[in-house]
């Protein structure tokens, strides 16, 4: 399986660490809603098909990526930085700006 890191290009899956279901929503830090916390900590989607996942390029730039991967075929249809504003940084890098 290859994941195309927006910084580093296509890299083998061995360079990445799976960091879980990307659909989880973390409650506000002070939230006392145990059901919401329970859902965040334990509930995972397990779709047969496209899945929204977080992967860290731990053996490369260490950025966290939001990856849409088909769990049946391993086909990856999209990769973006999990941290929204990284997109800007990558574009700047691609355009040679600092």
């Amino acid at each position: 399986m290859l994941i195309t890191c927006p910084y580093c290009g296509p890299r083998d899956v061995i360079e990445f660490t799976y960091q879980g279901d990307g659909n989880r929503e973390r409650p506000q830090p002070a939230s006392q809603n145990l059901d919401a916390w329970n859902a965040y900590v334990y509930d995972r989607l397990n779709p047969a098909g496209d899945h929204n996942e977080i992967w860290q390029h731990s053996g490369g730039c260490r950025a966290h990526l939001r990856v849409v991967r088909n769990t049946l075929t391993h086909e990856i249809s999209s990769v973006a930085f999990a941290r929204g504003d990284h997109k800007v940084a990558a574009r700047h890098k691609a355009e040679g700006k600092t």
Partner: protein
């Protein structure tokens, strides 16, 4: 020359003699022989005993699909079981032994199993070992009782206990075209793709390129096919854009056109060359793949088809043409198709007498009649073999009239003397890789075979793999596939011209002859046709269930020779056509893969090591090094004649009496910097860090999101926006990822940067009553007295001219300091400290003494923060801030985490003055015969020099409430039982007066 070796022909070098042993007996063979061909040449017919019935078995095939002739190869102390003798290339000194026999191959006591007949039929294990419902051997206990005896009788080779000393490698490779298989189709494909300029890898699981060309006896472009193949492979060697991989099995086809292959680099050598790995695991990313993997000949199912001397027709042809070995002198053949006639003629030409060709078909083509005549064979069309005779070798066969329209036998059985029976039940394309790649195979009624499906990944098939069994077709398809894979277009040059024996590729649809006696479908797992029918009668109608119930196709050969036969017999029992019964999908690996090759550089001498800056000093000064993860740390600095316990007791005692120094460079160190660094630490630690003054350190605890304890360590505030976090050695990487995840994904608005600086700093912890005096003697630029350097204070100064950062904190419970310097100066500073400490009796101490002093103090480490304990369980609830939320704060008070009955940290004192064991259980009532009702377990233990007793830390149910009571340790594995007293985990100096000074 041995009786079975022909005078000429084949690729063996008759001038080079190789000496080897099989079951202790010396044999000779020639360079180029496999173990199977060499033993056959020596007249050996008995290679092993079968899995369940211990029936004598010979060699069935000449290649990777061999189910019978499995051997164990010994190299020194290392034993490699279950290797097909057909795949072992002999070398001087090869030591191989047969398997699954007791006491010897020729006289096997368990062969009596077969006299019982039905005793071990399908599902035997499931049915028998349900066991009685009550009593001492109820249910699974009965199985456990019987297992001991059965394991010995049933099974394959025995694994060794010696460590595998061989080296293994992994290799990533990239190419435009990967060609799997180097028969005529593969050679043509590789050449065509290479001529287009594509980067080509050609893999071949055998030692020699050429596939069927090496033994077909055909002529290509006017020369023997084997010579044509050798020339073609030789030409490919001259290409810069072609990599040839002999002895390389492509065993997995994964998504993204990623293929896995095993190269057996040195198995055929007496000893590996310098630095050579035994196996190399190739991960190949190919833009496109040409599958030219050929086909497997199928056996026929009839009584006695497993007797030594019964072999596949092409295998005998191969032994004769490729190795110059005759499988027999009086050979009979049994076939449902034309290919056996070519085999018969080849064996006749090699010098054997062909006594009969038994063919289930009534009508034979005139070409086949001519081939039979040329082989001087008696042609028995419309006949079938109904029995074989002989013991450890074949002596004859029985044939009867056979009507293939209804399977009926008629007339008197007649005997034919033969020492070898060759069978051919048609051919199955080797579609395993295509099936792995994701698509379902399609049944072809004419070929009586599953043909490869439409590609779902980037591959193209060629040759016998596609069901095109003639060499001319293979050559044409191979070239077309190579061109297409390389993105080229066809050139009109002429194809090589093939002269081959005629033959119809379609067999008669006959798989089994039903007559009395055991007819084997799966030779390796001893599954008979009757077992398959029994499974059907008992209601197993799905082919997947059939496989599991009968274990058909589940042996190490993965049913390469048996899958179709089992399916056909099942289909007949169900009264359904074969494609409706279905086929099973093939999964990786295609053939056995060494675990070592998958682990590769992660073990052995290629495994990376992490060494602290002072490593060489430790080794030079008598440290016994201990591997902790990738790190190496001093365990003890032992004196001559000391035991480990004596050494650490001396080191710990000296530290508490004067001073000791230990290398702490392995602790994880993370720079946490930025305007929001303090806020970030407040969120990740359970306690406050924003209130920490610059120049001070604080002990911190982290929880996981689920509220359980995660890691602990001290964090130093070096500046308003600059923190240095330390973590436990084992968790350094995990903590770093944890912090990065929250900064990148959860709180991207926080202006914080984290950097791993573990390797930037060398750390030495110096502790004991004299520690401050030693620092005062060597530190310049700062005072180290209580005012300048209070508990948890930080100062900067110099030691021997090198800048150092000193923090006063304590893990040992003594007045102690951690001295950090740039990693490159680590040894310099360490030596200066040692020198300054000499007048004060400073000792170096290792992990054992470190652990002893921390147990005496009751500090926790990874043994207690085990992923199941909470802060409260570890008495760290004083660190849980109520003023702010932090990671884990919402989940840590869940019902189950605060309920009574949890395991809590306590201390234990051995009351019988005997050592305690890590992992030992703790019980209220001792019952050595029947240990039960554990109330907890020991996490760490030592002899405490401070207390003069054997002590331990333990996690005990409701431990706090049990302090002052007695319990017992119960460790049946190590036979250690004894009384203990449960006490506080703070054994030594509980109010901390020593470290506060």
């Amino acid at each position: 020359m041995s009786p079975r070796r022909t005078d000429a022909g084949g690729r063996v070098d008759r001038l080079r003699t190789i000496r080897f042993t099989f079951d202790g007996a010396p044999y000779t063979g020639h360079a180029g022989d496999t173990l199977a061909s060499a033993l056959l040449a020596n007249g050996v017919t008995l290679f092993g005993r079968s899995f369940k019935y211990h029936r004598p078995r010979g060699v069935l095939t000449a290649g990777v699909e061999e189910p019978n002739a499995l051997v164990t190869v010994l190299r020194g102390e290392v034993r490699e079981p279950n290797i097909a003798a057909t795949m072992v290339e002999i070398y001087d000194g090869l030591t191989a032994v047969s398997q699954n026999r007791f006491p010897s191959l020729a006289w096997d006591i368990n062969a009596a199993n077969q006299l019982g007949g039905k005793l071990l039929s399908a599902g035997f294990y499931y049915k028998t070992f349900m066991g009685p419902a009550i009593g001492p051997l109820k249910s699974t206990r009965f199985w456990m009782f019987c297992e001991h005896f059965i394991r010995r009788a049933a099974g394959l080779g025995r694994a060794g206990t010696a460590a595998d000393t061989a080296r293994y490698e992994r290799m990533n490779a990239f190419c435009d075209v990967l060609v799997v298989g180097s028969g005529p189709a593969g050679l043509m494909a590789a050449r065509a793709a290479a001529d287009q300029g594509a980067r080509v890898i050609l893999s071949e699981l055998e030692p020699h390129f050429g596939g069927s060309a090496n033994w077909s006896g055909e002529t290509i472009d006017g020369m023997p096919a084997a010579d044509w193949a050798a020339r073609a492979a030789g030409q490919l060697e001259g290409y810069d854009n072609v990599r040839l991989l002999p002895r390389t099995t492509v065993w997995g086809y994964y998504d993204g056109n990623t293929l896995a292959a095993l190269e057996r680099v040195t198995d055929h050598k007496e000893r590996p060359g310098k630095g050579e790995p035994r196996h190399r695991y190739w991960i190949i990313r190919a833009k496109s793949v040409v599958l030219a993997t050929g086909s497997f000949e199928r056996p026929l199912v009839f009584p006695g088809n497993d007797r030594p001397g019964v072999m596949l027709a092409h295998a005998a042809e191969r032994y004769a043409n490729e190795y110059g070995v005759l499988a027999g002198n009086r050979i009979a053949l049994f076939t449902n198709n034309d290919s056996a006639y070519r085999s018969a003629l080849a064996l006749k030409k090699a010098g054997a007498a062909i006594v009969a060709i038994v063919d289930v078909r009534t009508e034979l083509s005139s070409e086949m009649r001519e081939l039979a005549d040329e082989a001087e064979a008696k042609s028995l069309s419309g006949h079938a073999v109904v029995a074989t005779e002989g013991g450890k070798a074949l002596s004859g066969i029985k044939v009867q009239r056979f009507d293939m329209t209804n399977g009926a036998l008629a007339g008197e059985a007649r005997s034919i003397q033969a020492d070898c029976l060759l069978m051919s039940g048609g051919w199955s394309p080797t579609i395993h890789l295509a099936s792995q790649a994701g698509a379902k195979a399609e049944w072809n009624a004419a070929r009586q075979a599953f043909l490869p499906p439409k590609p779902t990944q980037q591959w193209i098939g060629a040759g016998a793999f596609t069901g095109s069994f003639s060499t001319a077709e293979a050559i044409a398809e191979g070239r077309a596939a190579g061109l297409s894979a390389a993105g080229g277009t066809g050139t009109p040059t002429a194809l090589p011209v093939v002269e081959a024996a005629p033959g119809d590729p379609d067999p008669a649809p006959v798989f089994e002859i039903k007559a009395d006696g055991k007819s084997f479908v799966d030779f390796q797992h001893d599954v008979t046709a009757e077992d398959v029918r029994l499974a059907h009668r008992e209601g197993f109608i799905s082919v997947e269930h059939l496989k599991r119930y009968t274990t058909l196709g589940m042996a190490t050969d993965q049913g390469k020779s048996s899958n179709i036969l089992g399916l056909a017999i099942m289909a007949e029992a169900l009264g359904k056509p074969i494609p409706e019964v279905g086929t099973t999908r093939f999964r990786p690996p295609f053939s056995a893969v060494s675990i070592g090759s998958l682990a590769a550089e992660r073990f052995g001498d290629l495994r990376p090591e992490r060494l602290t800056p002072m490593h060489d000093w430790h080794v030079a000064n008598g440290a016994t090094m201990y591997s902790a993860g990738l790190w190496y740390r001093p365990m003890i600095y032992g004196h001559a004649g000391e035991t480990i316990e004596q050494a650490y007791v001396r080191e710990a005692k000296a530290t508490r009496e004067s001073a000791g120094i230990v290398d702490v460079s392995t602790l994880g160190k993370i720079a946490v910097q930025g305007p929001d660094a303090a806020e970030f630490l407040d969120r990740v630690y359970t306690n406050m860090f924003s209130t920490l003054a610059v120049g001070k350190a604080r002990y911190g605890l982290m929880l996981r999101e689920d509220g359980l304890a995660f890691d602990d360590g001290t964090t130093w505030r070096l500046g308003q926006q600059d923190f240095l976090m330390t973590t436990t050695t084992a968790n350094a990487g995990k903590v770093m990822q944890h912090l990065e995840y929250f900064l990148d994904v959860v709180w991207p608005e926080l202006r914080v940067h984290v950097t791993s600086v573990t390797d930037e700093w060398a750390g030495a912890a110096i502790g004991g009553p004299k520690a401050r005096a030693i620092l005062a003697a060597c530190v310049t630029g700062t005072a180290v007295d209580n005012a300048a350097l209070p508990f948890m204070g930080i100062v900067h100064g110099k030691i021997s001219g090198v800048p150092v950062m000193i923090c006063r904190l304590s893990f040992s419970g003594e007045m102690a300091f951690e001295v950090y310097s740039g990693a490159g100066y680590g040894t310099h500073v360490w030596e200066a400290l040692i020198e300054a400490g000499k007048p004060f009796g400073l000792v170096t101490y290792g992990l054992e003494a470190l652990g002893t002093m921390r147990i005496e103090k009751g500090h926790v480490t990874g043994a207690e923060i085990d992923g199941r304990t909470t802060a409260r369980d570890l008495h760290l609830d004083w660190m849980l801030s109520k003023k702010k939320p932090f990671i884990g704060s919402a989940m840590m008070d869940r019902e189950g985490l605060i309920a009574p009955g949890r395991l809590e940290l306590v201390g234990l004192i051995s009351l019988d003055n005997q050592p305690l064991n890590g992992g030992a259980h703790i019980v209220e009532d001792l019952d050595e015969a029947n240990p039960h009702d554990s109330i907890g377990h020991i996490t760490a233990c030592c002899y405490s020099p401070a207390l003069g007793k054997y002590i331990a830390l333990a996690l005990v149910k409701d431990g706090m409430a049990r302090r002052g009571t007695r319990a017992h340790i119960s460790d049946p594995l190590r036979n250690r039982f004894g009384p203990v007293e449960i006490v506080s985990n703070h054994f030594f100096d509980p109010d901390g007066s020593r470290m506060h000074g």
